[in-house]
Amino acid sequence: MMALFRRFETAIDNGIGRRRLSYLLIALIIAFFLWFPNDTSQSNYAKTVFISGFFYAIMSSSWALLAGIAGQFSFGHMAFMGIGAYVAGLIARDGITFALLGINITPESISAIGSIIIGTIAAGAVGLVIGWLLLRLRAAYLALFTIAFSELFRIMMLTEYDYTGGSNGLSLRPLLQIADVNVARQVEYYLMFALLIVCLLGLYWVANSPIGLFLRAMREDEDAASALGVNVVRYKILVFVFTSMIVGCAGAIFYSDVGSERIIPEQLEILQMSLIIAYAVIGGMESLIGAAAGAFISRYLLEAMRQVVITLPFGMTTADGSDAFVWDTGFWRFALFGVVMVFTLRYMRNGLLYPIITWFSGRDIAMKETVAIRESDDEHAARLETDDE
């Protein structure tokens, strides 16, 4: 089997080449997603699942830039998404007055797109403040701070029910007003897919630019990076603002009746944030495409596993005459998801998709220095175990 794979590998290397094959594969995947809504055998439900998958792919890949590449292990990502969505919803409903600037925005004068832009800017502005406050915090303190911020925001949305609707949620102004539900879903699908592509391109641009290099340097050793001339303050704030604006925009669009018609504070719970982290970990924290793919595939599987149908063999039937058992998995699918997560963390810390992406790209998706650190950690742990024995 291994020999066969080696032969396949040699054939690819001597022929089209891995890099070109990966481009071809990406083109095929994009073509598939572009074609998918036109497949008449697919219902709108399947498109809804994909729309949700695109949204979580944006969330996960942007978190991968923040945590996986910049090393800022933040739990505030869902809160920034919520800021974008809530601000867009509240502005569209109540308007806003900037007395100092003499600007008065009334609900009538603002469009859904306008409210989304303001929501995005608001998320970025809060990201700026949080990024600045986090300058001196690292590791566990940074995580704790962002948890506190996230919870603070959620509780505010929950208790200020007069404005936010509390747990009944806030309904955002619909972005699209298309009467035909089939056309509407198709447009929503392409909109969310386009947003994912744009976000991934933006994230890739940052990750592969000199800024990305500085971010990685900060992640490995902030003091050393600073000593070598990296403006840590600037890039730390920049990455917070950038990722906050991405998720703020995604949240404002998704909840403007593209993926859901209302946002609720429960959506901002730590549990939801941990799902985003889990998607990124499973896909590969240090690979933007890995995190996005991890999120999309996980969302799809979690949806597909809502109901497991087991067809009975030998023409047997159940008491109600059905030839299949239907198992409503409920929360068991999350338990299974937890098992996958444990497996990933123990045996494939670079993500389940790491070997595939590495093979195609011909290089480690996790930067060599990180792998080296992990390997030295492992060696150190092994030495300790031996000493104990």
């Binding site: 219902s43 439900y45 029910y161 609707g165 747990s167 859901s260 209302r262 959506q267 008491a319 699918r333």
Partner: protein, 445 residues
């Protein structure tokens, strides 16, 4: 020896796998069912962040109703019996997931009707989709006023999606406004003038407090509101403020849930604030769980509390049977949302049978409007709908497609350690069990 034992184990396992499904094959004794079933979707929260315990109870009740109907030969259309098939969908308590599940119900499972829904946000998010697709729906738990009614035409200031209003969505749980009114009306009838409300700082406590505050004020009472954090264990500083006030309150109303409400009520009783001859204690409805209540609030005799859902002393035979089955499964008294979910399936089945069709959503919804059924929670009917579209002035919009008689009562313990099944129902008068609207501490009814 080991190998032999392993071999035998394997054989037994294979035999079990083969026999298990076979054992489930059984011919129905007296019912001949047509091939096509009537599919009813049950939208309930079965995973976080939803209320999982509530979802499990509702799911159980929906399936139980289908089993009971099927045991009685299902739904008869044109002389043929159709079995009910339940498709449960997990809303996760999230509007986004709820919408996705409803879409799956409609497009993939092709359900004929829908019931369930625990969280109002899910109800609000899914109702337009259900209505637009003409799916007859009976919600069994969301309380938000806008869930029923042609409120969809006005909620959150959004333009109507369906200019004709809501034709297909009904509700058999109470609207929030129906619940809040009962406590205040009872206390105002008793003549209270000085009210202290202790409310938790959540989206349950604060809106409820605001609603009751406004109602008390409108009735001329003086109200003091104190907000507390959920999870607080020591309420002495807060309660001391009440003790130190110049005027003894006529009533202390506790709008705090769970364990925290127990702590608060016990400390209130220990300090001699309420219940006393001068001050009425109105604690949270969680006091209905009498075993937990007495464990945590041993001094809480004579406290009153509200109960949503029919009271055990008024259980019909159907309710008793349902309660017994529920108790067997969960070792608890059947909650109102499980009863409502059970009844909702019967309402849908009855309407489908009267409409004579599984696919004609308009005919089924029209049949639901003219429902007249006695079920576990009482007599079901819908006063306002397309059959009676004019809501008289002063009638709130949520009465559209709303069951008008969900039972909301005030109950009161009058013996220490008393079961809630024996507690007195004191309000409204029509449900009174001991002929009194309040039992003064120290007396017996």
């Amino acid at each position: 020896m080991k190998r032999k034992s392993l071999f035998i184990h394997c054989l037994v396992l294979i035999a079990l796998i083969a026999v298990l499904p076979l054992s489930m094959v059984q011919a129905d004794g007296h019912c001949e069912f047509a091939e096509d079933t009537v599919k009813i979707g049950g939208l309930v929260p079965l995973s976080a962040p939803g209320a999982v315990a509530g979802g499990i109870a509702m799911s159980w009740a929906i399936n139980r109703a289908a089993d009971d109907i099927n045991a009685d030969c299902g739904i008869t259309i044109d002389g043929a019996n159709h079995a009910i098939e339940i498709v449960i969908g997990d809303s996760e308590g999230s509007p986004e997931r709820g919408q996705a599940v409803v879409e799956r119900f409609i497009l993939e499972d092709e359900v004929d009707a829908v019931t369930g829904v625990y969280h109002s946000a899910v109800g609000l998010a899914t109702m337009s989709m259900l209505d637009e697709n003409g799916v007859p729906t009976v919600f069994s738990e969301p309380w938000n006023d806008n869930v029923s009614a042609n409120g969809i035409m006005e909620y959150d200031g959004r333009p109507p999606r369906n200019a004709d209003g809501v034709d297909h969505v009904f509700r058999v749980s109470p609207a929030s406004s129906m619940v809040g009114g009962v406590v205040v009306n009872w206390l105002i009838d008793l003549g209270v003038g000085n009210v202290v409300i202790i409310a938790e700082n959540t989206d349950y406590g604060q809106p409820a407090a605001a609603d009751e505050y406004a109602r008390f004020e409108a009735a001329g009472a003086t109200v003091t509101q104190i907000n507390v954090e959920l999870g607080t264990e020591d309420f002495v500083p807060i309660l001391s403020r009440i003790q130190a006030s110049a005027e003894t309150p006529d009533v202390v109303r506790v709008l705090v849930t769970g364990e925290t409400s127990f702590n608060l009520t016990q400390q209130m009783a220990e300090l001699g604030i309420a219940p006393t001859e001068d001050t009425i204690c109105v604690t949270n409805q969680v006091a209905f769980q009498s075993e937990q209540y007495w464990q945590n609030v041993p001094d809480g005799n004579y406290c009153a509390f509200n109960r949503v859902g029919i009271i055990p002393s008024l259980f019909s035979d159907t309710a008793v049977e349902l309660n017994d089955a529920y108790f067997e499964e969960f070792e608890d008294i059947v909650p109102s949302y499980a009863m409502a979910s059970y009844d909702a399936v019967f309402i849908l089945a009855d309407a489908i049978e009267r409409a004579g069709s599984t696919s004609d959503g308009a005919a089924i919804s029209a049949a639901i409007e003219t429902t007249d059924l006695d079920l576990s929670q009482g007599r079901y009917y819908f006063e306002y709908g397309n059959h009676n579209p004019e809501l008289p002035e002063g009638t709130p919009a949520f009465m559209w497609h709303q069951w008008p008689d969900p039972v909301v009562t005030m109950m009161q313990y009058f013996e220490q350690g008393q079961s809630s099944l024996d507690a007195a129902v004191i309000y409204p008068a029509v449900y009174q069990t001991h002929g009194t609207d309040y039992i003064t501490p120290g007396s017996s009814p």
